[in-house]
Amino acid sequence: MKLLSMTVAAVMAASPVMADLVFPSLSYRTGPYAANGIPFADGYEDYFTLLNERDGGIGGVPVRVIECETGYNAEKGIECYEATKGEGALVYQPLSTATTYQMIPKATADGIPVHSMGYGRTSAKNGAVFSNIFNYPANYWDGASHAINHILDVNGGDISGKKIALVYHNSAYGKEPIRTLEELSKKHGYELMPVAVDHPGQEQKSQWLQIRQQRPDYVLMWGWGVMNQVAIQEAANIRYNMENFIGIWWSGSENDVLPAGAGADGYKALTFHNIGRDYPLYDDLQKYVVDAGKAAGAGDQVGTVLYNRGMYAAMLAAEAAKTAQELSGNADITPAEMRAGMEALEMTEAKMAALGLPNFGPEFKVSCENHGGNGLGAVKQWDASAGEWSLITGYEASDQDVIGPLVEEDSAAFAAESGITPSC
């Protein structure tokens, strides 16, 4: 054992140390969630590779991405966090709600910011309580409200008496929207029918039998990994009307709908950023990263929904780092300066167009009170014959009358239980 520990120490001491900006990538390229984890991780890493190759990093300081495999397991995610935080990690993006929940107290104690983009603890929107946690540009409660708003639009504004099922991953992630959907059901008078699917979700016969028997008018889904593919296949098998089946943004990638073939045609999903690869930035990505043979992974994911999202996450992190460099005057920023940069981040259309991503995501501004952005989201639909997603609505606002008080209530509960005095 002594010999082993000495070997480990020698290996760890051998890694070089120099001035760089460290962005850990807690990815999962193995296990039942790999189909969704790989494109996101590739997009995240490729964007930083592009910055290094084209601009020499951010503000002249090269970026170093440390990848750590989590297998979408919160325990391994925390191991990765502990293993990489000593390297000067600037921001963590765990891509797992369960990991985010466990990382919140640790990262706050260590003073490292966490960006849970479109996942994680929704009430982290309240920056007065969650000083180091950011979840811009949208969160799960926004997503729940977008889905209900879309159903309202389709039904001319009246959904009282309708039955809406929620097929959810039985974990912190899937349980997140239930609270909001319950509140919204009081407001709009629909009946909510939660249907839990246990990890990893390869077997959903009984759940879809239940849906077949109870005939809900709409089905919402909070799924991830192999669960998405199976659910969409099962819905196609019971000939559920795909137009009435709406997934959250994590249940809407090509990998999820392709296995069901033509049966998935008409399936809807939410999104908080644009789709496709029709942006000037992709020319640079092709030139500096893909053609140069520096693409992460197999390099075959460029332009897919989750690749775009990973790239968007990296872009927001890089923009926050630039803001931090401007604010602090240092090129080699610390996690604390990064946190300040994230809190001062403002994404405008002009900024995104200059980056080569015009009209890619919504405009938003982060502040100390609001770590969650504006919560805009759109609905997209899958066209199986063309094999592509298309946006069917614009970016619309969520029902802040319902979500605002819920965020207040949940963050106040967290503040009370962990002894935090909210301050801005």
Partner: protein
């Protein structure tokens, strides 16, 4: 030359029946304890505590627990993950329900609660054996994880279904929660490990342990010579549950800080602890430590060498890790079915004769 009984005379009965009859062994044991208590806490940092020492110590307790049941009493259990979850959730309910009581008492009580639950699930062992018992404990594993996910009372009705450990301290030193120092985490686990190992070692050397081993070797013969199989089996389940419960409570409160039944206490935990016991050596306290060290250190070492040292892609390293640990388990089962403890035993036999083996 140094490692022998000769010349070491016992003058009292307690000396004669001590755990380490050989002087060299005894001093080695004191040196290990002294290093663990007096040296390591001064050098430990966050990474070493969280990646190596704390999981090793906690898994060692769990492995001791399972070893008592499987290695000493011969009752196969695949429910260790679920039983650890009982310890974790018991600890959480106690910590949040009685915030003024010391965490040490809560951890011990969680062990007690787990002991009761495990004894309950051990009742079928009076009628069924072997594979059938393994299936019954497997059912316990799935039932318990389902229960902790389904009944929201266990996680205090939190919306996410997760439990997170509030900050608690022992003698003014914070030992749970995000602000815990690495050495405090390590020391609290070390104290529990030392306590559990001493208790387990002495139980297995006494009449209780001998009854367990009699049941393991041949239950009918044991019954004929006067061992009550019900009492022996149920005490094994109870003692095993106590240790596994302590391990679960520490795993949640000190190591993870937050947990979710399915994520942290799934079937893979049961198998992990079972592998530790098999690789370490069935029916050996030292084997529990060796197995836990092997299963905790190997992934860390492989990850550091393959990803950190050689710069390989993480997915390749993760898959290779499965292949390497899997094949090592198979190789061990073929080459040394009695585990690392047997290698240790052989080394000691050789040491007795050294340097004149003939």
């Amino acid at each position: 030359m140094f490692y022998r009984e000769a010349g070491d005379f016992s003058t009292t009965y307690s000396q004669d029946s001590q755990t380490f009859p050989i002087k060299f062994d005894r001093y080695r044991y004191y040196v290990v304890l002294a290093v663990a208590f007096l040296v390591v806490p001064f050098f430990i940092n966050d990474y070493w505590a969280n990646a190596v020492f704390v999981p090793f110590l906690i898994y060692a307790i769990a492995a001791i627990g399972l070893n008592i049941l499987t290695g000493y009493c011969g009752q196969v259990s695949l429910g260790t993950g679920g039983f650890m979850a009982v310890g974790a959730y018991a600890c959480y309910k106690l910590m949040t329900g009685f915030p003024d009581v010391s965490i040490v008492i809560h951890v011990l009580l969680s062990g007690g609660i787990t002991a009761a639950v495990v004894t309950l699930f051990g009742l079928p062992s009076l009628r069924i054996k072997g594979f059938y018992l393994a299936v019954a404990t497997l059912a316990a594993q799935f039932f318990l994880v389902w229960l902790f996910n389904k009944v929201s009372w266990f996680y205090n009705y939190s919306a996410s279904g997760q439990i997170s450990a509030p900050e608690r301290s022992v003698f003014g030193v914070i030992v749970t929660g995000p602000n815990t120092e690495a050495w405090a985490k390590y020391l609290i686990c070390l104290v529990f490990v030392t306590f559990c190992a001493i208790v387990a070692r002495n139980l297995t050397r006494g009449s209780v342990g001998r009854k367990w081993m009699a049941i393991r070797d041949m239950d009918i013969a044991a019954e004929i010579i006067g061992v009550n199989p019900m009492a022996a089996k149920l005490t094994a389940f109870m003692v095993s549950g106590f240790f596994v419960g302590i391990a679960g409570a520490l795993f949640f409160a000190v190591y993870l800080g937050a947990a979710e039944a399915n994520d942290s206490f799934g079937i893979d935990k049961s198998f992990l602890v079972l592998f530790m016991v098999i690789i370490g050596g069935l029916g050996s306290i030292f084997g529990s430590f060796a197995g836990a060290a092997f299963m905790v250190l190997l992934p860390v070492l492989l990850k550091n060498v393959l990803v950190g040292g050689l710069g390989w892609p993480t997915d390749l390293a993760a898959h290779l890790q499965f292949i390497i640990s899997g094949s090592l388990i198979i190789i061990f089962l073929i080459m040394e079915p009695h585990g690392l403890a047997q290698l240790w035993r052989l080394a000691k036999e050789k040491l007795r004769l050294w340097p004149f083996p003939h």
